[in-house]
Symmetry: C2
DNA sequence: TGATTGATTGATACTAAATCTCAATACTTT
DNA sequence: AAAGTATTGAGATTTAGTATCAATCAATCA
């Protein structure tokens, strides 16, 4: 497996995204460091404007344009995923390139990446009945994480 | 089953949403009629601004505010669903109250509602390993519908 | 080292989506 | 008819996100 779940810690994400930037021929500048640091430290999914607000207090880090640019790049490269959202702004969560799903805790907001996927097997009969040729899917899971259940219930 | 798929035609959706408005104590005004008519006739998912653009040519139907208000109500009541979208604006598809999924054709854009759902069974072992208590999920399917495959390929 | 080159930044202007406001209007009930 | 309530819509406003472009920075080369 390319990215065993045990390795998918925020710290590892932080190192891997920096390496990915370099591999893509992009520079690891000070503004980009600050953004990656903030994302790696985020306890829950976040919006671009949250990053803007968090970093604008730290004088001289990253402008709105730089933040939006890097978020777009990270998303396109698979290091962030945009969550399904009722709201008007995009919500991002740390991610890993490839096919994964996210389990979001409704209590603490933490997002866990799940690499296993058996969705298409289960839904195959229904799709066959519709004569629909499946090419991809989006799946997000909502519930309560073990940590929240043991600590506050 | 509350809404057998065979009954989920646009015409039926049109009648049922009008009844739902009445049941909720809301009035079936002329502007709302025009919006429901347009949505019932839509061949594919659409944005609020598409409705605005389509109806503003018909002089004297529905203002932007009325359109946004009704779309919000229909979505909250389960008669529209917002699709996962990379873009900036929400994309809506006709829906039915309850738990369903959408299969969107990447070629013609048509959206088919699927009432069957065996997602949670398949993913249960992986979630148990994470000690995650599942409460809900969002699943959208992408592919090519039978109609598109037979007619243009 | 200093020059060259091209990537990167960020202030600012801009666009477009979505919401808000509130007086005017249209129903419904008594 | 009068009173009371729901609805509308024009326009102002907010806000997310994009575009611009001169100034700056960093990597490589002479
Ligand atoms: Zn939690
Ligand atoms: Zn999957
Ligand atoms: Zn199709
Ligand atoms: Zn389901």
């Amino acid at each position: 497996m390319a990215h065993p779940e045990s390795d998918q810690t925020p710290a590892h994400w932080r190192r891997r995204t920096e390496a990915a930037l370099r591999d893509a021929g992009l520079r690891c500048t000070f503004p980009r460091h600050a953004i990656l640091d903030w994302i790696a430290a985020a306890a829950a999914p976040f919006t671009a404007e949250q990053v803007v607000a968090a970093l604008e207090t730290q004088h001289g880090t990253s402008s709105r344009a730089t933040i939006y640019r890097l978020l777009d790049w990270l998303q396109a490269a698979g290091w962030l995923t945009r969550l399904y959202s009722d709201g008007t702004q995009h919500t991002y969560a740390r991610f890993w390139p490839g096919h994964h799903h996210i389990a979001v805790c409704l209590r603490c907001g933490s997002a866990t990446i799940m690499s296993e996927c058996h969705i298409e097997e289960g839904i195959r009969p229904a799709l066959a009945a519709l004569d629909f040729e499946l090419q991809g899917h989006v799946l997000e899971l909502y519930g309560v994480c073990g940590n929240c259940r043991t600590h506050s219930n």
